[in-house]
Symmetry: C2
Subunit: 384 residues, 2 copies
């Protein structure tokens, strides 16, 4: 039998995939995943926007497009980012088929086998798998309750000479923790000092339920080395697969060639729908709605965890709460028991690039209504 | 400055990109590209299908989906393939974001740097770039007026021990030539004899204007080593980016993990639109329409080339005619002159994995009406 490529050695994709098969069963309360609430998905509005877009631009939308992306989306995304303090001209943006693709294209452009990427520990496990398929070496950055520690990053830069530092600064996945302003400044300065790329993955920043917005790392960037990744998956719809990345020109050119060779271009109907959604000014009201919806769910979950006496982070936004089981108990064993009670979550060990930390777990609150959250936590309380 | 990955060495993506910038200018007659005719793009029908799909399944479509693809599309695509003599259960199919992604995922699963892929010479230049970004070595297969020569494939297999043989058997890109039935059988037997994967890329088979359909290579496959790639880009819309591949189970599993790490899943609205398009039975009538439309254009182009005394292939379908300039003239120089007359095409040398053949060129006929074809060819006649 022909052999598979070496990049697949050690890649199983299985631990999480099994959990996702379980949560697809009817009746399962899922604290796994990072799904928007069903109520937050606006199928009628999307159908209206699809008809409008196809009515005015249908021939162009349905034809082949440029790998560089749908021009009206780039215009709208540039405005969207500017409102968030990220200064990026349309020409510096690349629309992508979701931000997983941004990580894929950045790795394609930069990573040779054995190259190092610094990642927060814990961080998003999906990003790990994308990076590992480029045979990157993942090296951990220490974090605390204010996010990634700049001194730990600098130490790791000097020690491992990485190509890239991957950070989720706002309502981090999986911890929900937000990087402080001082550290954002310090990290932007590190990019300049060491001439190293920072990949700032910021899909949750608009999902803030308390506290004040913080400026992006990119807003402090004077070196042109900070890439800013945004996504409409959490804000409009993940099924449409539309995200955007702002990147320096030389790297952007490589990513466009990579995009051309990967899928030619992002689905144009979805790019046009998102562009119109933004142009119509629908986002602010919709964000107010989902912030109210998710904020209530977060509060319900935090209150439940407090009642249970479970150690947890207290995020000001996002989709996730991070917990530690009492007595060093293994969250994977707890998951096996929880599944019998039709409750699912993701054990925390999978979010550590070097494993361990078996007593941690990630809970999602956006995809369950408050009463379901109570019921799910009650079932968990019995298990642990 | 941080360096780019070695896979980009020698990748420029520029020759063709420049041509595509030119054809975007208003007033340019484009025989470049492989675009469907504007008349073949059904924006009202697509808008209706989008509304229907979102009306009945909106919450599921707009939510995260599985990397394995939208289940109703897999059902419909399985029926679509069965009608074409390709027996592939829904579970053996992976919906992709266009067939460029199939090539990307197959390479991701199989190709280590330096591995060999056999390609027809000439073949689709976009596939070359995707393969080269995996640092594959492309090794040419000889072709004639009946397509790839099995003896040349076997010789190359024995000499280069390739991981993969990439073939476009029907109305090949760029030549328009169709592989004979006997050779299809012989090539399927080669896959079994040498335990080697064949990647059968067959996006044009439904665009037949004369002659009879031929069975796919895959229909003769007894080894489970022939992957069959299909696409709805040429039949429904390329802007929607929906294709499908039938692959053996072990390779399919690797491709699903690759897909998960590349873009999580294909746009679900477009998958749902294509699924409904097929379920509604719209395709046969639409195919009859575009066959009539493109068949007339092909005939007009062939007649014009005959008048000009240009040596050309005589395809029975597809989107392309392949030409040779008289007197060994260089098609790149001819293109420079043609562009001044607002006519564009793709010089043939780019379709050879080892270059040369500067006197060849590829002409597309689907995207220009018959009178425009006449005008474009008149301008070309002045140039050459």
């Amino acid at each position: 039998m022909p052999s598979f490529a070496a990049r697949y050695n050690g890649i199983t994709g299985s631990a999480i995939r099994e959990i996702f098969k379980i949560i697809a069963r009817p009746g399962v309360i899922s604290f796994a995943g990072g799904n928007p609430a069903a109520e937050a998905l606006e199928e009628e509005r999307i159908a209206d926007l699809a008809r409008e877009a196809l009515g005015s631009d249908g021939k162009r939308i349905l034809q082949y497009g440029g790998s560089e992306g749908w021009p009206p989306l780039k215009e709208e995304a540039s405005r969207f980012l500017a409102q968030r303090g990220v200064d990026a001209a349309p020409d510096s943006l690349l629309p992508v088929s979701g931000t997983t693709q941004t990580i894929d294209l950045v790795c394609k452009a930069l990573i040779d086998p054995g190259d190092t990427i610094l990642v927060e520990n814990p961080s998003f496990l999906g990003a790990f798998q994308t990076m590992r398929l480029y045979q990157a070496r993942l090296s951990p950055i220490e974090t605390d309750e204010r996010g990634a520690i700049p001194e730990s990053i600098e130490e790791a830069i000097l020690k491992t000479r990485p190509k890239l530092v991957y950070l989720i600064p706002t309502f981090q996945n999986p911890t929900g923790v937000t990087l402080s302003v001082e550290r954002r400044k310090a990290i932007a300065a590190l990019a300049a000092r060491h001439d190293i790329y920072i990949l700032e993955d910021d899909p949750y920043r608009d999902l803030r339920y308390t506290g004040d917005d913080l400026p992006a790392i990119r807003s402090f960037d004077e070196s042109g080395r900070v890439l800013y990744m945004s996504s409409f998956s959490k804000l409009i719809s993940p099924g449409l697969r539309v995200g955007v990345v702002a990147a320096p020109p030389d790297l952007l050119r490589k990513m466009v060639v990579g995009k051309q060779s990967t899928d030619l271009h992002t689905d144009q109907l979805s790019q046009a729908i998102v562009a119109r959604y933004l142009a119509r000014g629908y986002l602010p009201d919709h964000l107010a709605d989902i912030r109210a919806l998710y904020g209530e769910r977060l509060n319900r979950m935090l209150a439940g965890l407090d009642r249970m006496g479970i150690e947890h982070t207290t995020p000001e936004g996002g989709l996730f709460v991070w917990c530690r089981l009492p007595g060093g108990r293994d969250a994977r064993a707890a998951l096996d028991l929880a599944i019998r009670k039709n409750v699912a979550f993701v054990p925390g060990t999978h979010f550590y690039c070097d494993g361990g930390h078996e007593d941690t777990l990630r809970l999602n609150f956006s995809n369950s209504d408050p009463d379901t959250i109570d019921r799910g936590l009650s079932a968990l309380a019995e298990v642990i």
